[in-house]
């Protein structure tokens, strides 16, 4: 076996080698040749198509990259296609005109693999650098940034002259710098390029490393200095990133634990069915999305907003039934609530398994939950960011309900002294049921959020239940702030341990630390002190 190296550079080389004679050729026959080409041949064809310099091929190449290029079985003519009902609408790859509809069986898809996609991306980069569309120019510059080649240099420079938009221009400067490194330009120009790249941060590291073996010896010190400076900077960002990841993990733990902080922390029920409430919330999200997908696809970005009240009501109702049906007979016998709720959890799991099947259900991410944006040297993903925001919002909303509303006052009165509360005219059974429903409902809306980052399967709840209990116990039973601080500190601790000892050992160490911590403070981080506790 030999390792053949196929890189963007090679593709681009082909592109320009052909440029001399291909300029002005009709791309249509080239497209038609794709019908019989294997992956390697197709790669060359893509380069040739790009070399025609004809901007009208851009949509067809895009379609190719998406896997939407087909050839007609009857005459091996190649078309882009898009779905039109059960049929396909064929589109001429060059003119962009419709060529009528055909059955799916009349055409064959032209296969595309990663190499081809890379080649297409590089080709598109060259073709769209001067596109009138600002976005297209920006992504063209990005494409070159990601797959730099000496040959793209002239194109970038030509485009730079005409570019007026500041951001695009800056991006093109960077693209020029990375392309320049592998070209045969002068040492001074390269030195300036290295400086520009050093400012790119982490994404520049790859380029610098890749030329480190071949670069002019005179530039070596500059290169090493640039690499070192990026790495130094990264070290600092690493710290920030760990904190961020820790907060993100902490917010997930907080979400999972916050409902439990009510049912277990405030009411004293060892609620082993808590995880299943989270799972029910996730399945509610799935159901909502199913309905939206079938009836109103346009609302998909709103699906989570719609799922929130649905999940809250569904799980709240289930919680209400569980409290009335089982738990109300068990007040004052906390350890027995553990057994009964565990039974409930088994039944709920198996019920979901029977109804929906044991496999994962697909819960989609709305567009505002997908993707990421860079912040300095780190990448912040939208779903994690929204989950942090979401969990803190729930936390403070709950805190408000507990501390500032009449209902919260009643609830605290009942959990502190049931007899006294009932003799003061509070309907304790009603408050109990509502409190449990509230805790369950909050677990349900946590499920909505967790459906965005985890499997939606009948086992979902099981994977959170132990962690949730750890958080509540670590933070101190009966104290919401304890749950917040507990969740965040466990999350951050975990993320700082993970890089040095690995994920598995990290998790074990966190558990051991919790056990040791409980020895030191048997009632958690924020324990109530004094006589009342012992009574």
């Amino acid at each position: 076996m030999t390792f053949r190296i196929f890189s963007g550079a090679f593709v681009a080389f082909l592109l320009f080698a052909c440029a001399a004679f291909a300029q002005g050729t009709d791309p249509k026959p080239l497209f038609n040749q794709l019908a019989d080409a294997n992956f390697n041949a197709a790669e060359k064809l893509v380069a040739e198509i790009a070399a025609t310099g004809n901007p009208r091929v851009v949509p067809a190449l895009n379609a190719f990259s998406e896997g939407d290029l087909y050839f007609r079985k009857s005459d091996k003519a190649v078309f882009a296609a898009k779905a039109a009902g059960s049929q396909l609408e064929l589109i001429d790859p060059v003119t962009g005109e419709s060529a009528g509809q055909v059955a799916k069986s009349a055409v064959t898809k032209i296969k595309v693999n990663n190499n081809l996609r890379r080649a297409i991306r590089a080709a598109l980069g060259g073709l769209t650098l001067m596109s009138p569309d600002r976005g297209a120019r920006l992504s063209a510059a990005d494409a070159i940034l990601r797959a730099p080649s000496a040959e793209a240099l002239e194109l970038v420079e030509a485009a730079l002259v005409k570019e007026t938009d500041g951001e695009v221009k800056a991006r093109m400067e960077e693209a020029r710098a990375v392309s320049l490194l592998s070209s045969d330009r002068s040492v001074d120009e390269k030195r300036a390029a290295i400086e520009t790249i050093a400012g790119l941060g982490a994404s520049g590291l790859g380029v610098l490393n890749s030329v480190s073996g071949t670069i002019d010896p005179g530039l070596k010190p500059d290169l090493d200095a640039a690499i070192a400076s990026i790495q130094n900077e990264q070290q600092l960002w690493n710290l920030a990133q760990n904190v961020w990841y820790g907060m993100s993990l902490g917010s997930v733990l907080l979400l999972a634990a916050i409902g439990l902080a009510i049912t277990f922390g405030v009411m004293g029920i060892i609620n082993m069915a808590h995880g299943e409430m989270v799972m029910l919330g996730a399945y509610s999200t799935f159901m909502v999305q199913q309905v939206i997908r079938e009836n109103a696809p346009g609302l998909f970005d709103w699906s989570l907003a719609i799922a929130l009240p649905v999940a809250f009501l569904v799980t709240g109702a289930v919680g209400f039934v569980i409290e009335r049906g089982v738990i109300r007979f068990l007040y004052g016998r906390p350890l027995e609530t553990l057994l009964a709720t565990w039974g409930v959890s088994l039944i709920l799991q198996q019920a979901i398994r029977t109804i929906f099947g044991p496999t994962n259900q697909e819960v989609g991410n709305p567009s505002w939950m997908s993707g990421s944006f860079p912040l300095g040297g780190m990448t912040i993903t939208y779903n994690r960011m929204w989950i942090i925001v979401f969990s803190l919002t729930i936390f403070f909303a709950l805190l408000f309900v507990m501390k500032k509303t009449a209902y919260g006052l009643n609830m605290r009165a009942v959990t502190q002294n049931r007899r006294m509360a009932s003799s003061m005219g509070i309907r304790t059974p009603w408050v109990d049921a509502l409190t449990f429903a509230l805790g369950s409902g909050i677990a349900g809306i946590a499920g909505v959020a967790l459906s965005q980052i985890d499997n939606v399967s009948p086992n979902l709840g099981q994977s959170y239940i132990i962690d949730s209990f750890m958080v509540v116990v670590f933070g101190g039973v009966g104290n919401l702030w304890g749950t917040l601080v507990g969740a965040l500190s466990l999350g951050i601790l975990n993320k700082f341990l993970e890089p040095s000892v690995g994920a598995v050992l990290g998790k074990i160490l966190v558990l051991v630390l919790i056990i040791l911590f409980i020895q030191k403070r048997p009632r958690g981080l924020f324990a109530l002190k004094g006589r009342a506790v012992e009574a």
């Binding site: 060892i270 082993m272 039974g343 116990v473 558990l511 020895q519």
Partner: protein, 391 residues
């Protein structure tokens, strides 16, 4: 002194239970080995293996009853002690394979060979010797319980907090044993055992002896548990369960009392694990799963905690149910199990044996009260010993 201690254990119900267990220890293997397969009295190996497994579970439930039923410590981590005992036995059995492993390496178990281990880790030393391995079956779970309990009871961690950290303990151990680098075979665990003390593990005779040993050890542990609970120490134990601070203010060292019980119980669990492994043929980190430990709690609750006999009956009934349901109605097993938990906690909080006993005691108390009414001045009230015997 020791005889007094043991003799005290032999109260009515316990004698009956021990008698039944000893009889089972003899009769079941005899029916398995001596009757022809088509005889109506024949007990197939499959059923004997199953019953052997139940007996191990019963011993585990008995161990839990000692700490939960009598001392009020709800351990959600007893599966860990069971698994550790099992691992000690499993490691012995692995070493017995010797050079008959697939790679023919005389020192290293197969899983170490194909993961490129060069030498035996230190904690595997000595486990090729049966007496040492058996000592480890007691010492490893006992030591873990001792260290864990030493810290936890001294810091007065109790109630829910204790339950949760025992769960954390078994969960952490599960994750640790899942790691291949630990040298315990990772998630595949230890399996494919060849022989024990020179006898083939799979042979009918060995199985019969293992079965008999399970019944015998269960009987023995039952006697020890009964002796403990019926001594003055046992009364203190119940005192700890019902009014811990009163025990403390009477001058007892509650942490020592709990620690002793916890360690004894862990050792029982270790024995159960050690007997379990050669009979089912595998030990792996799944045994540490927190859900398993919760299930043990359920067996104990179903049978009746604080009764010694109850957990044994509970473990056997629930597991027989599990065997039946997972074969006959696989889809409904979890519904049945879940329903059982709820029903028992709601309607039989004392468990099966506890409820029967309670009813019986109430009748007896009624009668005693009537008797006392008749002849209070004549001093006809039952003596302490009689009342104790009725407990």
């Amino acid at each position: 002194m020791i005889t007094g201690f043991i003799l005290r254990a032999l109260e009515g119900k316990i004698v009956i239970a021990v008698g039944i267990l000893l009889a089972v220890a003899i009769i079941v293997p005899a029916l398995n080995l001596l009757t022809p397969p088509d005889s109506a009295f024949h007990i197939p190996t499959y059923v004997m293996a199953l019953m052997g497994k139940y007996l191990c579970y019963a011993l585990l439930a008995l161990a839990l009853d000692l700490v939960w039923g009598y001392c009020g410590i709800l351990s959600l981590g007893h599966g860990a002690f069971f698994a550790l005992g099992g691992y000690a036995m499993g490691m012995y059995l692995m070493r017995q394979i010797g050079s008959r492993g697939v790679y023919g390496n005389p020192d290293l178990p197969d899983f170490m060979v194909f993961l490129n281990w060069k030498e035996l880790p230190w904690f595997w030393y000595g486990l090729d010797m049966f007496p040492f391995a058996m000592a480890m079956v007691l010492i490893v779970p006992g030591l873990l319980a001792f260290v864990f309990g030493w810290f936890a009871f001294r810091s007065r961690v109790n109630g829910v907090y204790l339950s949760i950290i025992t769960q954390a303990m078994t969960y952490a151990l599960m994750l640790a044993f899942f790691r291949n680098d630990m040298g315990f075979g990772g998630n595949n665990g230890l399996t494919d055992f060849k022989d024990i003390l020179g006898f083939q593990v799979q042979a009918g005779g060995t199985r019969a002896v293992l079965f008999a040993m399970s019944a015998f050890m269960l009987a023995l542990c039952l006697i020890v548990a009964s002796a403990i609970t019926r001594s003055k120490f046992g009364k203190v134990l119940v005192g700890v369960r019902d009014a811990e601070s009163r025990v403390r203010f009477l001058g007892f060292r509650v942490e020592n009392i709990k620690l002793f019980t916890f360690v004894v119980s862990a050792m029982f669990a270790g024995i159960a694990g050690a007997l379990f492994v050669p009979q089912v043929g595998i030990i792996n980190p799944g045994e540490f799963a927190p859900a398993n430990s919760i299930e043990v709690v359920v067996w104990t609750a179903v049978g009746g905690r604080g009764t010694l006999i109850g957990p044994i009956i509970g473990a056997i009934l629930v597991n027989a149910g599990k065997s039946f349901f997972t074969g006959a109605f696989p889809e409904f097993w979890l519904f049945a199990l879940g329903g059982l938990f709820i029903a028992v906690t709601l309607f039989l909080p004392k468990g099966i044996v506890g409820t029967i006993q309670h009813g019986w005691n109430a009748r007896k108390a009624l009668k005693a009260a009537a008797d006392a009414e008749k002849g209070r001045d004549a001093g006809a009230a039952p003596t302490v010993q009689q009342v104790q015997a009725a407990e």
